[in-house]
């Protein structure tokens, strides 16, 4: 009967209601084990029915079919689990762009019980020069004790592949590299050794299941000794025509035989791993290149800003030079002819003071002009390594006559053996001259100023000390403020210009008046070229 009721079959239990309407399934799944059915068949066999003789054969065949079906069902379940695992693995590999992350996922998948369940795995990768297949990473226990410890830990944690890979990456990746360092070194082989079994697997693009490794003529004995196992699997990692590396996996602890089935499953897994490794590697290189491009772009921007700044400076320089030329000649004519006239004017002539005043004013204006032109020159910084003591001596030498006229003496305390400073000579010389003349202007006759050099941490300190004059904070600020009311014509711009020049050159400039008296002007001159970059930044 196709359709029966529940009370007509005692073998059917709860949840098997579907079988009530399927005679075929009912016969295969229930009747063969049903005592009533066996009794009925026995009765039928004893009857005179001519078909009774073939019933035992039919029953035996049916039992075989059922066993096969159960085996196939088990196989199918295993495959479904494998596909599910490969799907999970594939998702993890596809979503990762980090090389270490990809490696962690791959190596975890090979050794995890819920993955391929191998005891140990090694990854060898071809180097950038394509000269060697180098041992890169090993995963697994070193001995049985460690193995049981790891497996117990994994069994209790019940983590997913993703979680296990993450845990591996953060807490084990580095230590595993160290742990297997010696083995990884020994597994490294030159790619030119064509007959080596590793290279053969790569060249033939197929996995090799090595058995009887210690007596296998195809296997270098040193490989078997390094691994210490008789059986292992070599899985090439290839993407397109690119030979990325290979994975060696074994069961060094359990010695479970590696089956062809294991090899086929691993082969399915090798392709996405290869692809993910290539992609992660390319992404890593892309990031490096992007970093270079970003840095180059930044540098270009800085250079553009520098060019714009230099053009502005060049314009300022041209205008200044033009003005200077236009002014210097008339000044020279006015002052020069007045001096000529003075030669013939007696000392007691009432016109003499007026002529002398013209001469003095012309000279004063010429000094202003010199100052402006010096500043104009300083707009074109040309830094180089200079001996600061020589710079000080030369600048003071130039001012010697001027200082003597004012009755000011200059004492130099220059430290020996100082490193050269990386500065624009003209700029620093101009600023030192500016500071010295400013200090000299404040000093009374027979005054003394001290110039000292010494080594600081990353610079050379150049100090000009006025031992007698103390300045308040307001006075110090006014000193470096352009057109301050306290300054006279000709020196009003000196200190502000010095401050601006030094700021642009990133040279720290400090004016300090300690409570015990006096004022110290300090320039910290760089001794390395690194300062130049900061200097350019500060100007932009």
């Amino acid at each position: 009967m196709d359709q029966i009721s529940a009370d007509e079959c005692v073998s059917l239990g709860e949840g098997e209601e579907e079988l009530l309407s399927s005679r075929k399934r009912r016969v295969i799944e229930k009747c063969l084990d049903c005592p009533r059915f066996a009794r009925d068949l026995q009765t039928l066999r004893g009857s005179d029915n001519p078909l009774a003789g073939i019933l035992p054969f039919l029953m035996a065949e049916l039992a075989d079919q059922k066993a096969q079906l159960q085996f196939m069902g088990g196989f199918l379940d295993a495959k479904i689990r494998e596909i599910a695992f490969l799907h999970e693995l594939s998702v993890e590999l596809q979503t990762s762009l980090n090389l270490d992350e990809v490696l962690s996922v791959a190596m975890t998948a090979i050794t995890a019980g819920k993955g391929f369940g191998m005891n140990r795995a090694f990854l060898l990768m071809t180097d950038k020069e394509r000269q060697y297949l180098r041992g890169y990473l090993g995963v697994g226990p070193l001995n049985a004790e460690e193995a049981w410890h790891i497996w117990e830990e994994v069994g209790q944690s019940n983590l997913s592949l993703k979680e296990m890979a993450k845990h591996f990456k953060t807490s084990k990746l580095s230590s595993e590299k160290v742990k297997f360092h010696d083995i990884l070194e020994k597994l490294t082989v030159p790619l030119k050794l064509q007959d080596h079994i590793f290279n053969r697997s790569l060249r033939e693009r197929r996995p090799i299941l090595v058995e009887n490794a210690f007596s296998n003529p195809d296997v270098d004995r040193s490989v078997a000794e390094t691994l210490g196992v008789d059986s292992f699997l070599i899985m090439p990692l290839i993407s397109g025509n690119r030979r990325i590396g290979l994975i060696i996996a074994d069961n060094c602890i359990t010695h479970r035989p590696i089956t062809t089935q294991d090899m086929q499953s691993m082969e399915t897994f090798a392709f996405p791993v290869s692809f993910a490794l290539v992609r992660a590697s390319l992404y890593e290189r892309l990031q490096e290149e992007l970093q270079k491009v970003t840095e180059a772009n930044l540098k270009l921007k800085e250079q553009q800003e520098t060019i714009v700044r230099m053009e502005k400076m060049a314009l300022v320089g041209r205008i200044t030079s033009s003005i200077a030329h236009s002014i210097r000649n008339p000044l020279m004519i006015i002052g020069g002819f007045t001096r000529s006239l003075l030669k013939d004017v007696p000392e007691n002539d009432p016109k003499r003071p007026s002529l002398e005043s013209i001469v003095a004013t012309a000279k004063q204006l010429e000094n202003v002009l010199d100052e402006v032109l010096s500043y104009s020159d300083s707009l074109y910084p040309a830094r180089d390594m200079w001996d600061v003591n020589q710079l000080v001596a030369a600048t003071c030498g130039e001012l010697q006559e001027q200082l003597e006229k004012r009755g000011v003496t200059c004492t130099m305390n220059l430290a020996p053996g100082l490193p050269p400073v990386y500065v624009d000579y003209r700029q620093v010389s101009y600023c030192l001259r500016g500071v010295i003349t400013t200090v000299a202007d404040r000093l009374a006759d027979n005054g003394e100023l001290i110039i000292a050099t010494s080594r600081d941490d990353a610079s050379v300190a150049l100090r000009v000390l006025d031992p007698t004059t103390s300045l308040t904070r307001e006075e110090r600020e006014a000193l470096t403020t352009p057109f301050s009311a306290t300054q006279e014509l000709g020196i009003g711009l000196t200190m502000p210009l010095c401050k601006t020049i030094l700021e642009r050159a990133s040279i720290p400039f400090d004016i300090n008046s300690p409570p015990e008296g006096g004022t110290t002007y300090t320039l910290n001159l760089p001794i390395t070229k690194e300062e130049e970059i900061h200097g350019q930044d500060s100007r932009s």
Binding site: L331, G335, S340, L373
Partner: protein
Amino acid sequence: MARILVVDDESSIRLLYTEELTDDGHVVTAVATATEAVDKLREADFDLVLLDIKLKNESGLDLLQTIVKERHDIPVILSTAFSFYKDDFSAWLADGYVVKSSNLQELKDEIERVLAKKKRP
């Protein structure tokens, strides 16, 4: 006493130099252009040339090169409103360099120095 050729496009400066140097006992010839200067150098002998670098539409440095080529026995002092020409290689051909100033003492000292140097064998 020396024969000095002054080359400057500014007439007042030519006059100032002429008066001052004549007072000091020199014989001064003053011209405004490079062409005039070359002509004068071919016509007469001079002990020294006092040369402005920025001549009207001409370069004193080009004239300096011509003088060095044709009359390398005559020393040249450059007189200019610009101090930065000191760093110009072309200016290094000159025997002296003076930045223009209302106080001509520096110029006079330089003339004496160059003439004294010329006299030495």
